[in-house]
Subunit: 235 residues, 2 copies
């Protein structure tokens, strides 16, 4: 199967969670908007294409099927890419974990956009400072501590006892938070040894290492979801 | 199958999306915390129970399987409850639509808690006022307009051409927003005739009508996700 990924150009964003799965599996895919520009997504978002209409990017086209939302795309791709355990109960568990990643990513986004996603960060900086403090102090320890516990219950290496798309997404969260909050993460990592080791293991997977070294892996930047604003970070 | 639903007592909250599916299907279920108190959920949240560990309520126990996150629970329950079309591509589409409901519900929650979910509304009222304006003016027309279009593309009655759990969730969103923003919704409904008709049809389904008239259906209140604060509403 040839897959077509549609996502905004210029940032890693939510598309990166899908990209990592396609890269790790060595899948045959095109990153369509990067080749043809963001406007190529308009007919899908306007409902002029066949298949399920997406609310927003990322979405994936696989034959005649259109699939949107990161967690749904990964749930769909898991079996053909060999990135989820075979048992149905484990597939459900993978989706459950991925949906907590989704929630964390939404909170990360809202940290620099607490008032409105349509306003600039500069128009909501004071509110962002208060929200960032809550993310650093309360939400990150809760979310990351949960994932640390789940890895431990999975045998110490993987949340699902074997490599899966959830590992790839947790790598991306860890890398994004290291960029966003370098000072805060330095104080949190000693409490999260298993998650930290998972991040290092994913980085060393041959296809992921090749991808991270390629031009396809954009650098984190302050247009994406994980943004480094020094004034929002603290140990 | 006997299902056990776990969710906070005293509010409809996110648990209500699951409750509506169980009620509509006439499923055999227990609303466990309502019978035994919120503390009954602690051992699940602490990781002391078998099965996938939930990050937060709601979660569902079905035999030995534990499933968390509303969209995942509904995806899991869809086939046995007859609340999703049979084709795999339609199941994927249902999950996709439900995940946009999830996103909208998160934005609704953050409207009265834009700075921190752990602070009281009273501690973030000014920020809530700005965020509510964005929800009323920009986000609600975008989300609800999307659902209106999807219903139209589904033949005018249902997002998936037949009744599904997505209809039930859209009913809950519509009912919640009518409570939260009565003035704003009065101006929006004329632009959303199909969604408004869907709401009325769901209300008239015999099991839903019986449920809504029962003591099991709690009233909306200002501890839940959809909250009515008059100062946040406007036409």
């Amino acid at each position: 199967m040839h897959y077509q990924l549609y996502y905004w150009t210029g940032i890693q964003g939510r598309g990166e969670f899908v990209r990592l799965a396609l890269e790790d599996a060595g899948a045959d895919y095109t990153d369509v908007a990067r080749e043809q520009g963001d406007a190529v997504m308009d007919t899908f978002l306007d409902g002029q294409e066949d298949g399920a209409r997406p609310f927003a990017p990322p979405f994936l086209k696989a034959g005649r099927v259109v699939v949107a939302h990161v967690a749904n795309i990964l749930h769909y791709l898991g079996p053909p890419l060999g990135l989820v355990p075979g048992a149905e109960s484990r597939r459900v568990q993978a989706l459950q974990l991925q949906l907590s990643v989704t929630d964390l990513v939404a909170e990360v986004h809202d940290t620099h956009h607490p008032i409105a996603s349509g306003l600039y960060y500069e128009d909501q900086k004071d509110e962002a400072r208060r929200r960032a403090e809550d993310l650093r102090e309360n939400r990150l320890p809760k979310f990351l501590g949960y994932f640390e516990d789940v890895i431990e219950q999975g045998g110490g290496l993987h949340p699902l006892r074997e490599h899966s798309y959830v590992d790839l997404s947790l790598f991306q969260v860890a890398a994004g938070l290291d960029y966003m909050f370098p000072r805060r993460m330095q104080t949190l990592w000693p409490r999260l040894p298993k998650l930290h080791a998972l991040k290092a293991r994913v980085e060393q997977r041959p296809r992921i290492a090749a991808y991270l070294a390629s031009e396809r892996r954009l650098a984190f930047n302050t247009s994406g979801i994980f943004r480094h604003y020094p004034e929002l970070d603290a140990a």
